[in-house]
Structures are given as structure tokens and as C-alpha cells.
């Protein structure tokens, strides 16, 4: 009996993993399309509109093109590491989604299924750990390319992630002091009953947002691939689907950090001013997933909107912002939060 239960549990998680991974891949695919469309609209252009109705098949065409491109592994590169780089970038990008609560419980076949692959009690630490591993993909690929521009890009990626991870972590600590838990699921449940965390932590959210832009290598922090000074940055030597993996992992990262921001600060799958508990659990779960996706789409649009508005920082400006503004600000935020908690005795 116990074994049968475990087997069903395994199947349930396996299906969930497959769904989540494929959904994040699909969303990342259409994010590339949305990026081109948003860029076009913000610049008074039309954007891709030839492949399929409204150009909706464009990401498929792009993917096909990358598969058919010639695959070049430079003679002077370290072959194993060269292949490991994009693989690692992709792997870590897909791994983060494991601890994210996508919605509330669903009742299916007499079983109550959690829409979360693993409700780890250190959820947010896991996200942090995996996201910081992501830079190894870039660094290894850059090092293995044996190319000065790639190496420069890799160095920049590494130093940028280290600088902004600190501020992000400290702003996170302030949030954790408010919530008192590391589990993402519990954070969402708390926000469902009270206010969203962004109300308690507006400064913390701002710091987190800026750092998330830096972690995802998005403009204005896209120095690792600054094309007009480093050619392509860390992916200069890459071609075919290996390049595709790098570009794709960037979009998955963007999706995941949008999800994390929505979960941490904007109530996750909580629909504001609405009590889900009165509804049937399945309908409530569907509404929850839709609410989360709406928040995520808003964040992804913000990522793109900023990209097509703000030019790239200079390298010293980037370091200045990270070390001399964001970290002190995050420390201040942490102290202020601590003081407020002591004073109000929350």
C-alpha cells in the first residue's frame, strides 16, 4: 500500500516536472518573440509578422535556423569545457523552477496535488544557490573559448554577479526578517492573508529588482555580452544550438526571476482583493496560476521595457552602483527593517 502511494507520488512529481520544464521552455521561446515584438512596438516598428499568423511561428523558425547552422568548435578551445558551458547554463536555468509554488492544491483522481515540485523549507536559498551556479556556465564557456573577448565577457559576468548577489542577498535578509520563513510556499500563504510583501519592503523590492536585472545580464547590465566592445562577449566563439542555449538560458532566467519576484514581493499566485477559499479548489488553483502568470508577464514586460529605454552602464559605473550604492542601501534597509520589527513588535 505504501509502495503504491509512493509510486503515484513519483508519477505525480514526474508529470509536474515535465510540465514545468516544458512550460518554462515554451514561455522562454515566446519571450524571445515578445522581446522582438515589444522592441519593435516601442520603436515604432512592426516586428516579426511573416512566419504564421501575426508572426507567431517566428520562435520555431528561429530555433530551426539555429539547429541547421554549422556547428563550429574552435581548434584552440578546450572541447569538453566548451560543450559544458552552454549545457551548464541551460541546466541551472531550468533547475530553479523546482521550488516555485505555481498554484494552490489541485484535486485530481481523488488525490490532492500540490502545484509545486518540492516545498523545500530553504526554498529561497536554493534559488539563490542555483542562480549563482548559472554564472559558471558563462565563465566556463568564456574560458574554454580561448578568446580574449570571451574571457573579458566571462570576467565581467563573474564580477557582476558577485557584486550584485551581495546586495540581493542583503535585501533578501530584510524580507526574511519580515516573513520569518525561507519556504516560498509559506511566504505566499502569508501574503494571501495579509498584505503583499512589497508594502513592507518597497526599498528592498527596488534593490532586488535592480539586482535581478544584473543577475539576468539584461540591459542596462548586459556588460558580459556588450556587443559593441566585446563582439559577442562570452558567446563570441559559439555557433548553432550552443549559442541558442546561451541565449535561451538568458530568457529562462528572466522568466524565473520574474516568477521569484512575483512570489516574494507580489503575492505569488494570490489574486488581490479576492478570497479564493470560497471557490472549489480546482477553480481556485486555475485562477491562482493565471494570476501568477499575469504578474510574471508584467515583470517580463518591465524587463523588456527597461531594455529598450536605458543604455548600458559603463563598467566602473556598474561597480560603483553595486558596491557603493546598492550594498549600503541594502544594509540600511536591513537595519531599518530590524528596528521597525523591534519597535512595533510584529
Amino acid at each position: 500500500m505504501m509502495l503504491a502511494m509512493d509510486f503515484a507520488f513519483l508519477i505525480e512529481k514526474l508529470i509536474l516536472i515535465v510540465v514545468v520544464v516544458f512550460a518554462s521552455l515554451g514561455i522562454a521561446m515566446y519571450t524571445t518573440f515578445a522581446e522582438r515584438k515589444v522592441a519593435a512596438i516601442l520603436q515604432d516598428r512592426r516586428g516579426p509578422n511573416r512566419a504564421g499568423p501575426f508572426g507567431l511561428l517566428q520562435p520555431l523558425a528561429d530555433g530551426m535556423k539555429l539547429f541547421f547552422k554549422e556547428e563550429i568548435i574552435p581548434n584552440f578551445s578546450s572541447k569538453t569545457l566548451f560543450i559544458l558551458g552552454p549545457a551548464l547554463a541551460m541546466l541551472t536555468a531550468c533547475m530553479t523552477s523546482a521550488v516555485i509554488p505555481w498554484g494552490n492544491k489541485v484535486e485530481l483522481f481523488g488525490r490532492s496535488i500540490d502545484l509545486q515540485i518540492a516545498d523545500v523549507n530553504i526554498g529561497i536559498l536554493y534559488v539563490f544557490g542555483v542562480v549563482s551556479l548559472g554564472v559558471y556556465g558563462i565563465m566556463i564557456g568564456a574560458w574554454a573559448s580561448n578568446n580574449k573577448f570571451s574571457l573579458m565577457g566571462g570576467l565581467r559576468a563573474a564580477s557582476q554577479i558577485i557584486s550584485y548577489e551581495l546586495a540581493m542577498g542583503i535585501s533578501m535578509i530584510a524580507l526574511l526578517m519580515v516573513t520569518g520563513t525561507l519556504s516560498l510556499k509559506e511566504m505566499v500563504v502569508q501574503q494571501q492573508h495579509g498584505y503583499w510583501n512589497v508594502v513592507y519592503q518597497p526599498l528592498g523590492f527596488l534593490i532586488f529588482l535592480i539586482c535581478a536585472f544584473a543577475e539576468c545580464n539584461r540591459t542596462p547590465f548586459d556588460l558580459p555580452e556588450a556587443e559593441n566592445e566585446l563582439i559577442g562577449g562570452y558567446h563570441t566563439e559559439y555557433s548553432s544550438m550552443k549559442l541558442g542555449f546561451y541565449l535561451f538560458s538568458e530568457y529562462i532566467n528572466m522568466f524565473i526571476s520574474s516568477v521569484v519576484m512575483a512570489t516574494l514581493f507580489f503575492g505569488g499566485y494570490d489574486l488581490p482583493f479576492f478570497d479564493e477559499s470560497t471557490l472549489a479548489p480546482n477553480i481556485a488553483a486555475i485562477i491562482g496560476v493565471a494570476a501568477l502568470m499575469a504578474k510574471v508577464i508584467a515583470f517580463i514586460f518591465l524587463f523588456m521595457w527597461v531594455r529598450w529605454t536605458i543604455p548600458r552602464f559603463r563598467y566602473d559605473q556598474l561597480m560603483h552602483l553595486g558596491w557603493r550604492i546598492l550594498i549600503p542601501l541594502a544594509l540600511f534597509n536591513m537595519l531599518a527593517t530590524g528596528g521597525a520589527i523591534l519597535y512595533f513588535g510584529k
Partner: protein, 183 residues
Amino acid sequence: MQALTNKAKQVNRAPMSFMEKLYLPAIIKGMMITFSHIFKKKPTINYPEKKRPFSPVFRGLQILNRDEEGRENCTACGLCAVACPAEAITMEAAERQPGEEHLYKEEKYAAKYEINMLRCIFCGLCEEACPKDAIYLSETFTPADYQRKQFIYSKNDLLIPHPKENEEAYLKALGNRPQKQTL
């Protein structure tokens, strides 16, 4: 220093105020500007589906004209070739045989008529030189091709479709060009 014109503006080099150092107001202002572009009209025309109207004097690909009964107007006088500044036009004349009156309008005609489209500069001097309204510039662009030799357009490529046998294509090729009075 005395300025040469009064167009020069004094650059404000005052240190940034606290609000300016925050950058965020400026960033939000910039983002509002980009956001407002979502609602602006897009100047792009979806080209193959929608075409920009040409001006009536647009000079595109040459067409060798026929009269209403489908007879070729060209008499191979060579004035167009002489007028052509790019020397793109060559032709060979021939005499009309009895029984060919339905093919050629006058006693002499062009047996061979070639325009090298790689040389042609679409100036329209051939059209101006022609006394018989036998050549004119249409609204078609020179289409792309794979080989250089295919850009030497022969008489078959240049002739307008027959107005009786293929009336639809003839009217389409004619476009909305006003018919010139022939001499």
C-alpha cells in the same frame, strides 16, 4: 571668447542635485517616453501586400509598346539607343514582309531589341527620344535574378502583352499611364 553666432548654448556643468543623482526619476521619465511610443502610428508599410503609390512620373522597367490592334510600334530607328547615356540599348532592324502587317505597324521593325538592365540608369531619355511612343518606363522595378546574363532583357521580356489576345495583362501593363499622341 566672442561667439561667432548666437546659436551656441551654455552647457550646465553644475554638480548633480540629489534627485538627479538618484537616476530613478530620469529613468522613469525615459520609460514614459518609450511607453508613449506604443500608441504612435507606425510608418512602416507592409510591402508586398500594400504598396506605396508611385508618382505619375515614376521611372521603372521599360516596356515596348503596341498599338490598339496589337502591332508593335517600334520602327528600329535607333534614336533611343543614341539617346541612352548608359549605352544600354542595342537593336537590329528588319524589313516588314508582306503578310506581316498585323504584327508590325510600319515597314521597318526591330528584329532584335535588347536592354541591359545592369547598365540602365532609368533616366527615361529613351522614352523622350522615341517618336513613335514605342518605349516607355513602367512602374515595375527591375526584378532580381541569379545570373548577370539574365539581366539583358530581350524583346520578349520587354514587349507589352497583346491587347486582343491577353487584354487583362495588357491593361495591367499599361497601368494608368496617359496615352501619348503618336506622330
